[in-house]
């Protein structure tokens, strides 16, 4: 601990408080000398000179500590040295037995100044060390007399060092926290602004290029296709992904839509309900993986140009994901045949995942009319799921 400290703006009020404390303490020390402890001084003139030095040093440190860059080890060290020096001067100014009669050192409460400064600048440990140094000098001045009162002062000083140091650190942490929050907010606002800009211009142009390119044909069609891909990618980046920013809600569920929508490409259409589809994170990940596996399968077996549609339905108790393609379809019996001959492939990776979640996967195909994979994930594991109407 120590050096990374409280240099943020959060410590500024503390420095001002230290300045106020020191001025008040100089006043108190002068009052003690003038009215209360006057008779205890063998050299009152020199004692007044010490008070004058205290006042001058208070002005110097107040100006010095006013700016963060001037709160150097040098100044803080000098502060401690000057204070200790003035404290020790008591020995030659007062009658030897003055403390027995309850007189305070000439610096009185003013000696706590550097302890506070060290604690605020360098934290708890430095505050404790400064307090110990000042306390030792105080004991030397007391010369063993009036030990009880001196001990009381020492404990107060030590506690001050520890607590103010702790307080300064807390303030610094709160300040850092606040700074981070401000940064996050600024970043998200900037992202929102960028998203709006991109939406208003770049996406529109990309969509236009895609459309015109497709019509022009030839090389332009390729450009249009690329523009379309970029449009989809950009849109996923600025449009959907952060609407709910994949943060789990209070129940720990995630919006499954945000995990499926990125699967959208120029040949894959993803359709979802308007409301969030809340699913447990682990189940959502598995369901997404199963959907990806089904889409990969379409690409591998039916070619890059095959179109595919993904439909997400949120029914009471069940989340249903349907993946359909317009490829050649799977000849009857091929799947069973593949499984029987040990080539598990699609049925394994998809059905297996769903079975583990307590759900089911149904694969149906009409040769020439494409394949349909239906994934059902029950909300509560173990509840059997009936096939939806419209499943072939």
């Amino acid at each position: 601990m120590g050096v990374t400290d409280a240099q943020g703006s959060s410590s500024e009020p503390l420095w001002r408080a230290i300045a106020v404390f020191r001025f008040a303490s100089v006043g108190y020390a002068a009052l003690r000398l003038a009215a209360i402890d006057r008779a205890e001084y063998s050299r009152p003139d020199w004692a007044w000179a010490v008070i004058a030095v205290m006042a001058a040093w208070t002005v110097v440190t107040t100006i010095g500590y006013a700016r963060p860059e001037r709160r150097t080890r040098g100044l803080l060290g000098a502060d401690l040295a000057v204070t200790v020096g003035l404290l020790l001067s008591t020995q030659v100014l007062q009658y030897p037995d003055a403390t027995v009669r309850g007189a305070l050192p000439v610096t009185a409460t003013w000696m706590a100044g550097p302890v506070l400064a060290w604690a605020v600048r360098y934290g708890r440990r430095a505050g404790t060390i400064a307090a110990l140094i000042v306390t030792c000098c105080d004991f030397a001045v007391q010369r063993g007399a009036a030990l009880g009162a001196a001990l009381n002062g020492a404990v107060l000083l030590l506690l001050t060092g520890v607590i103010v140091g702790h307080l300064a650190r807390l303030a610094a942490e709160v300040e850092a926290e606040r700074q981070r929050a401000i940064e996050v907010e600024a970043a998200s606002r900037e992202r929102e602004r960028l998203a709006r800009d991109i939406h208003d211009s770049v996406l529109q142009v990309l969509a236009l290029v895609q459309r015109r390119g497709a019509e022009a044909g030839g090389a332009a069609a390729e450009l249009g296709r690329l523009a379309g891909q970029q449009e989809t990618a950009l849109r996923a980046l600025v449009g959907d992904g952060w609407a709910g920013d994949q943060a789990p809600d209070a129940s720990g569920d995630v919006d499954f839509r945000q995990m499926v929508l990125p699967a959208r490409t120029h040949r894959v259409t993803v359709s979802v309900p308007a409301q969030a589809v809340l699913v447990k994170p682990a189940a959502a990940a598995e369901l997404t993986a199963a959907m990806r596996a089904a889409l990969d399968n379409v690409r591998q077996h039916c070619g890059e140009q095959t179109r595919a549609w993904v439909l997400v339905e949120d029914e009471p108790g069940v989340v249903r994901v349907t993946i359909r393609d317009d490829g050649a379809g799977i000849p009857e019996g091929r799947l069973a045949e593949a499984a029987a001959s040990g080539r598990l492939g699609i049925s394994h990776s998809i059905s297996g995942r769903l079975r583990d979640l307590g759900g089911s996967a149904a694969i149906s195909s009409v040769p020439g009319e494409g394949t349909e994979v239906e994934l059902c994930l029950p909300r509560v594991a173990g509840i059997p799921v009936a096939s939806a109407p419209g499943t072939a």
Partner: protein, 227 residues
């Protein structure tokens, strides 16, 4: 719709490049682009005089939501049909606009023939159902039926056949494919789709009126959102 007179279309989009491209496509294909507008207020101002058959409406306008524009258009010019042309990722906005009376929804990246066909079908009074819209409508009916029934609640229900048809539309099947699969006529499939939209819009109007009565707003128009 008269077979001879060209279909009158108004294009509402705040992006000039898009607006011009869409208007040009429509003009080249023989449609009569009677007006264009860059924002909702302008669209509502112009629509009364221009009397378009079809309004091609971008959902993201600088001044008004798609719902407000759709509702406003119907108020000024009740025969108008609204075709929503939107970027993706605006599911709730699209659904709200459809409930407010829009009869079709097309992605902005749709190819030109698909777009021109959608405008023609909208003018003919057919609902233009993309897979995305079908999923939204399915989801909305499920949401409505899941809401606990309140006093006098009349959440609309889809018939099994309607659910079946919508699921097929949502997984990319054409009306023709659906008709063949279910052994129905093309027209019947179209009617089923149309009915789902009609039920949703009727329910929305009933809800709006109920909301207005409950809150003492009867007589005022555009009495808020009850989605």
């Amino acid at each position: 719709m008269s077979e001879n007179a060209p279909i009158r279309v108004m294009v509402v989009d705040d992006h000039p490049m898009w607006r011009d491209a869409v208007a040009r496509d429509l003009t080249e294909a023989g449609y009569d682009v009677v007006a264009t507008a860059a924002d909702g207020a302008q669209a509502l101002r112009v629509a009364g005089a221009a009397r378009p058959d079809v309004v091609v409406l971008d959902l993201q306008l600088p001044d008004m939501s798609g719902v407000e524009v759709t509702r406003g258009l119907h108020a000024t010019h009740s025969a108008v049909r609204v075709l929503v042309l939107s970027a993706s990722g605006e599911q709730q906005d699209v659904l709200d606009a459809v409930k407010a009376g829009a009869v079709g929804y097309l992605l902005k990246s749709a190819a030109r023939p698909e777009f021109l066909d959608a405008v023609r079908r909208t003018a003919d009074g057919d609902a233009v159902f993309t897979p995305g819209l079908a999923a939204l409508v399915l989801g909305e009916f499920r949401r409505l039926s899941a809401v606990p029934a309140g006093p006098g609640s009349d959440a609309p229900q889809l018939s099994q056949r309607e659910i079946e048809v919508l699921r097929m539309v949502a997984t990319g099947m054409s009306y023709k494919q659906i008709a063949a699969r279910l052994v129905l006529s093309h027209r019947t499939v179209q009617n089923h789709v149309q009915n789902t939209l009609g039920k949703l819009q009727l329910h929305n109007r009933v809800e709006l009126v109920r909301y207005a009565l409950e809150h003492g707003l009867a007589g005022e128009s555009g009495a808020g959102e009850s989605a």
